[in-house]
């Protein structure tokens, strides 16, 4: 019900997947995000991935916290149940839902504020529990919904719309997850469908906790310093016009389909980010190599993307807790209640 035309999700044809569903069947309510918001691109990629994987929408549960990113669970798969919970606490709600019903596909959507500040502890412990879910961290370095405060992933020196520079070292969800023992760790960019969609499909296929750190620019507030084409620069001519509530309309940022291992992406403010996707030799099964690769890229001023680590042998929450294969919520009461005879016998042990 927003009045801003959204970049339409293209349907070359209304082609059907194996379930006889078209991509429309995987869409949701109209996005209320800013035009050009990276999060909308991620939503589009999710629609594509779920459609391609022939996943029945009603067998998927969409989980999120609070934030612009967290709102997006409403913008795809309207035939799925969704749970927009409280800020930073989506992981625990998902762990509980998954514990009760292991048969659904769980996709959690969060932001860098939701996951790295208020939600850091919960994300860390969902990783430790290896909850079987795809965890999308839509990372824009700011608190979008509350209008652009720095998040814990903001780069040092990055400047806010109010002009102050961030002083604190950013938290990198990828090295953090690798350190915490995550069993699937990947990174991509909201505009890089060619890379993002396959990674999403891999994450959905992974048995356990799959983290995808998606760089997803906030067109309204990710105002990096130094760039001559940044808001800071535009402000020179028009700051008084650009009131806090003015948000210029933008198109989503996307990268060419067939890029090499290093891609340079221009952001709206004119700054750029270098993405490095792993080459052929890269072994995604070695946690320490993955960590070193990501750090090496960081030191080169590059962002390592792609599927960086996977442990496909790890046991998930249910295996660690040895639960029955039937979802707990489907067990008939008769098989759960010991009954009066057992109680009678038990009572004797308290005498």
């Amino acid at each position: 019900m927003t009045s801003i035309p959204k970049p339409p999700i293209r349907h070359p044809s209304l082609q059907k997947n194996a379930l006889g569903l078209t991509k429309r069947d995987y869409e949701g309510a109209m996005s209320t995000l800013c035009a050009g918001c990276g999060h909308d691109s991620v939503t589009a990629a999710l629609v594509q991935a779920f459609w391609e994987l022939n996943l029945p929408p009603h067998r998927t549960a969409k989980m999120s916290g609070i934030g612009c990113s967290s709102k997006t669970t409403a913008y795809f798969m309207k035939q799925s149940h969704g749970f927009n919970s409280v800020h930073g606490r989506m992981p625990s709600v998902t762990a509980g839902a998954n514990a009760a019903n292991r048969d659904l596909t769980y996709i959690g959507i969060s932001g860098d504020g939701d996951s790295l500040s208020i939600g850091l502890g919960q994300m860390a412990h969902a990783i430790r529990r290896n909850v079987n879910m795809l965890y999308m961290l839509e990372n824009n370095g700011v608190y979008g919904l509350t209008k652009g405060q720095f998040s814990a992933s903001a780069d040092i020196g990055s400047t806010s719309k109010k002009g102050e520079a961030n002083e604190q070292a950013p938290i990198d969800p990828v090295t953090l997850a690798l350190t915490l023992g995550a069993t699937f760790v990947a990174r991509s960019f909201s505009g890089d469908k060619a890379q993002l969609i396959p990674i999403i499909k891999a994450g959905l296929a992974h048995h356990g906790f799959a983290l995808i750190d998606v760089i997803s620019p906030c067109v309204s507030f990710n105002d990096h310093e130094g760039s001559t084409k940044s808001y800071a620069h535009m402000r020179e001519q028009s700051v008084e016009l650009v009131d806090a509530d003015f948000v210029p309309l933008r198109r989503e940022i996307s990268v060419p389909e067939d890029h090499g291992t290093v891609t340079v992406v221009q952001l709206h403010d004119g700054s750029s980010v270098r993405l490095r996707s792993p080459d052929e030799q890269y072994d995604a099964h070695d946690r320490d190599m993955a960590y070193q690769h990501v750090r090496a890229c960081q030191l080169r001023g590059e962002v390592a993307t792609g599927l960086l680590f996977i442990d496909d042998a790890a046991r998930d929450l249910h295996e660690m807790n040895r639960t029955v294969t039937t979802p707990l919520c489907d067990l008939p009461f008769e098989t759960l209640c010991p009954g009066s005879a057992a109680l009678g016998a038990l009572m004797e042990r308290y005498r």
Partner: protein, 599 residues
């Protein structure tokens, strides 16, 4: 008052020395002699080395409150001799370990001090340090067997049951018992004027604590997901749930678990897990204590507004902040009833003993699913961690869980359009669907403003329509929750209202008052929101006393808010010492008041 089968004794030791099992042995022996008995464990908040006490009350009339006085103290911890001597009622006895001399300064003319060299005897008799420490506890049990005429056969029988297979151990224990017993018989005035005689008043009873009972209730209610973060005094609830599940919830073929217990990273996560599981349609719960309730406030509000069932056990402890974690109190009443910011109100159940813990635990799961809302069981440390003598639990195999209004695939076929928050039946309860059902059943749960179709809204009317219905839902809940327990007397002089673990002490007080010719109408609150009976009782008795265990008269506040009974018609009788209530203070306040204001 003290006499045969009607007295109390208290054992003071150092925690971490293994006396708990010995004290349990004593309790159980008396219980098996058919004599009503209660025990109160008064322990410190550390693991080893601090003073700890165990109070045992024997009451042929079945009073289970803390005793008004202590007839005998067994003092085995020199660091508390002074306190212990002071505890003995005039004319009472103190038994201490005379292996090491006691400062004569401490002697009191009006009590009898008895000594037994427990430590020495054990050092002489046993080699290993650990045995010397541990069997000293069995030795004092032996002495008490002689002093109180506990049935030795019962005790030896229990030792056999315990150590039957372990000959050496059994030996050692029998030796230790005899050490104390023989020494007492030969050197002490056995039996003491107050002692035991077999009765037959415990045959259809058990000794059990409330946390175990809550856990058992959860198993019988069909709960499958338990999430928690350890905290005294609620920890043993989840430990019991796990033990019962291991016993009753292993799948016949696969041996896999028909339950999932998650130790969360904190209480916020524990609440989130329970809510996530409740949303999925599993019966889920979490157990905690005051600090956890504070941390769960945001999630509680979410479950209230999104209308998701979940059961929260609050085993209340003493004080604000960390307070005294090993002491009891009823001071979370306001925090629970109106938990979370914004307009909220919750169903809270108040068990008075382990038997009600078992029953209300089941009721809580039914109410949570029927009203699609978080339900609290407000127990406390006294109920939760002490062994109470209660009638055996019963179970009706015809029981089936009340899952509330849930539309499955078939039911969805019948409806034109599914709208999550529409009040179809006028009872304020809207039908829900469970994730995965498909068809028209999908909807979006959000803690943000939503209309009756569960769609996002910032429209005043659409928003109010939903919160107004939720308010209506609670009016219906007030009629569905357990009714207050009434003890009425004709020609009563005054009304008394109480709650939870105050029950025993207040009923004992009512008897004492009757002996003084004062007739009291008693109402024990068992649930919030209050049903009409509560208001009626308060209005009927012009002035009432409200007995509760907190500083700020929180129950009285709830009564004033919810029933409209004027605050000043309710006189608070408050105990927030952290120890279980005794009848004494209640009797005094009521009789004194009536003396002043002749009715």
């Amino acid at each position: 008052m003290s006499g045969t089968n009607d007295f109390a004794f208290k054992i003071g030791t150092v925690n971490g020395t293994g006396s708990a099992s010995a004290n349990g042995l004593l309790m159980q022996a008396i219980f098996r002699m058919g004599i009503p008995v209660t025990g109160k464990n008064i322990f410190p908040s550390n693991i080893q080395g601090l003073p700890t006490w165990y109070e045992i009350r024997v009451s042929k009339d079945g009073y289970n409150a803390r005793p008004p006085q202590i007839d005998l103290v067994v003092a085995l911890n020199p660091s508390t001799y002074q306190k212990d001597v002071a505890t003995v009622r005039p004319g009472g006895y103190l038994l201490y370990d005379s292996s090491w001399p006691m400062d004569p300064e401490l002697a009191r003319a009006d009590i009898t001090i008895l000594g037994v060299p427990f430590g020495q005897m054990c050092i002489e008799t046993f080699e290993r340090d650990r045995d010397r420490t541990l069997l000293r506890n069995i030795a004092y049990v032996g002495a008490l067997v002689a002093l109180l005429q506990i049935d030795m056969q019962v005790v030896e029988q229990m030792l056999n049951e315990k150590f039957g297979k372990k000959k050496a151990l059994l030996e050692a224990n029998h030796t230790a018992i005899r050490l104390g017993y023989d020494h007492a018989l030969t050197h002490l005035p056995c039996p003491l004027p107050f002692h035991l005689e077999r009765m037959d008043k415990t045959s259809d009873c058990i000794l059990i604590d409330g946390n175990t009972a809550c856990a058992l209730g959860a198993v019988y209610a069909g709960a499958t997901v338990g999430a928690w973060y350890p905290i005294t005094p609620s920890t043993s609830l989840m430990e019991a749930f796990k033990a019962f599940c291991q016993k009753y919830r292993a799948d016949a073929e696969s041996g896999l678990n028909k339950y999932c217990i998650l130790q969360a990273e904190d209480e916020l996560a524990a609440a989130g897990i329970a809510i996530g599981a409740g949303w999925m349609g599993a019966r889920a719960f979490t157990n905690t204590s005051g600090p956890g309730i504070s941390l769960m406030q945001e999630f509680i509000g979410l479950a209230y507004y999104t209308e998701i069932p979940a059961v929260f056990f609050d085993v209340q402890r003493c004080g604000p902040a960390t307070g005294m974690p090993t002491r009891t109190q009823q001071a979370d009443l306001l925090s629970l009833a109106y938990a979370s910011h914004g307009d909220t109100k919750h169903i809270v159940l108040f068990p008075a003993n382990p038997k009600e813990c078992f029953e209300m635990s089941v009721t809580a799961f039914d109410l949570a699913e029927r009203f699609q809302t978080p339900v609290f069981v407000a127990s406390d440390l006294d109920i939760g961690m002490n062994d109470w003598m209660v009638p055996k639990f019963a179970w009706d195999d015809a029981y089936r869980p009340d899952r509330g209004k849930v539309l499955d695939a078939a039911a969805l076929e019948q409806v034109q359009k599914f709208s999550r928050y529409v009040d179809a039946d006028g009872d304020g309860i809207a039908a829900r669907t469970l994730p995965g059902v498909g068809g028209k059943g999908a909807y979006f749960v959000r803690g943000s403003g939503h209309d009756k179709h569960a769609a996002y809204t910032e429209d005043s009317d659409a928003y109010q329509e939903v919160v107004d219905r939720i308010a209506r839902k609670f009016e219906h809940a007030a009629l569905a929750v357990p009714k207050p327990v009434l003890h009425l007397q004709d020609g009563s002089d005054v009304g008394v209202v109480t709650i939870g673990s105050c029950d025993g002490a207040v009923r004992e007080a009512v008897d004492r008052l009757r002996e003084q010719g004062i007739h009291v109408d008693l109402m024990r609150i068992t649930a919030f929101p209050f049903g009409p009976e509560v208001r009626e009782f308060l209005l009927r008795n012009g002035t009432t006393f409200v007995v509760e265990q907190n500083r700020d008269a929180q129950l009285r506040s709830l009564l004033a808010i919810e029933t409209g009974a004027p605050r000043d018609t309710m006189i608070p009788i408050l105990d927030y010492s952290g120890l279980p209530l005794t009848a004494t203070n209640v009797v005094a306040t009521v009789s004194q008041f009536l003396a002043e204001v002749p009715s």
